[in-house]
Amino acid sequence: MSDSERRPLPAIDIKGVSKVYSVGGQTVQALREVNLTIKKGEFACLIGASGCGKSTLLRIMAGFETASSGVVNMYGKPIVGPSPERGMVFQDYGLFPWLTVKENIGFGQRQRNLPKAKLNEISAYYTDMVGLTKFADYYPGQLSGGMKQRVAIARVLANDCEVLLMDEPFGALDALTREKLQQDLLEIWARTKVTVVFVTHAVEEAVMLSDRVVVMTAGPGRIEEDIKLALARPRDITAIEFNQVRRDITQYLSSHVSSKVAA
């Protein structure tokens, strides 16, 4: 499919997706009738409390899990399993500990039988993009959490991923590192035009990063609100408009939690 043909098609199109788990003989509905369309190049955040199914939805997009019912398409083609065009960034990194930084970043391209020079060139380019050239020959065990997550981002970008799926990627990092990585991610996004679906439970992070915040609620997991953010970039965390939006989203989240408690 050429670019001009696929452009009108959404990057990710989710129609009527439900997910039912069976845990110890009991069935648990993780998702019910979820509809979501993500445009090419969009930066979308899925936000919600634990158990709202946001990670499950992301894993279905990645192809790690299948929907119990409903359709998930990427550029009009059904998603049937994991694929390099949808790169996942895990909270716990999932790097290969026996490979160096540049070998981890080149792992995807290595599967394609490229000439060695070309492979080295690609991995050097993406190692540089995430600012780890000095650490190219380090092993993951020798890196800080922030550096590991940079490697995880670079290895999916180096593998030509078109949709970047991120599952609370900065949740395990300290506040300063998190802010730095958020800025770097925005830069990479602006530069590569990659589509991003970002799962988080931090409102501030969602407002800082995304074009669009999708609020999910639990029991069973569904989409409660879908908010387009009109805030100009770069965003100022201290601006009145920023905090207005943050307050609104926090309200959506907490009102649902308190209504559930009341019930």
Binding site: A62, G63, F64, G81, P82, S83, P84, R86, G87, M88, F90, D92, G94, L95, F96, P97, W98, L99, T100, F107, G108, Q111, R112, Y139, P140, G141, R155, V156, N159
Partner: protein
Amino acid sequence: MDTTAELPIKMVKPDIWPYIKSWITPLIVPLLLLLGWHAGVKVSGTQLIPLPKEVGLMLYDFAFGGIYDDAFSETLPLHLWSSVTRVYGGFFSAALVGIPLGLLIGRIKLIRDLLDPTLQLLRPVPVTAWLPLSMIFFGIGPNAAIFLVFLGAFYPIVFNTIFGVKSVDNRLFEAALMLGCSGSSLFRQVVLPAAIPSILNGLRLGHGFAWILIVVGEMTGVPEGLGAVIMDGRMLSRTDLVIAGMTVIGIVGYATDRMLVALNNRLLKWSPQHHV
């Protein structure tokens, strides 16, 4: 100006002392043992156990001759070589069978269901109990010894390999799959490297058992080998020869174990926590 006078000493001390200490500390207990041995023999006046000095002489004669000039003088290289070929014959065949088998059992459920119960059943049987049967299977000669060494090394290798394969973090499979690595590449590029620490651990344990079992293996009536020498020494009441043979096995076992450790640390340079 007392402080300036003290300064050079304070600066030199921490540089040299840890180095010396790292050499001396491991020697303290062996030296005390030798001392205790010597004192014990002297005080009790026993004729049954030789002095450490006499064992030292025996070792020298065993290796180079010129002291007793009996049937055992200068025969160390011969016996050592016989034992080494048996230890490594058994060890390498155990690795050759145990690692692939462990990989298959760990990875393929059908093979696991088929073989694991049988292996679990055979494992508690002491390897020494196989001695009579191994002599029936392989006759009197080195093959029976190699078989016992093989059995002893096989179990730790195969079970550690299975453990290594089964404990690969599921996250790594997900990461590999979404990067386009699947099928046999997944096995070669993820399962195998992830299982290497356990496999090496199994090899090291198996290697230790191989040296332990060589003495039993060489009780099967072979004329050469360190185990055979120890049995001869027992029969001839040559306790100095027995202890000399034990010492050689200890030293060679230790030295070869250090080689495995060096290999381990080299292959696992990505994981300092696996360094020994």
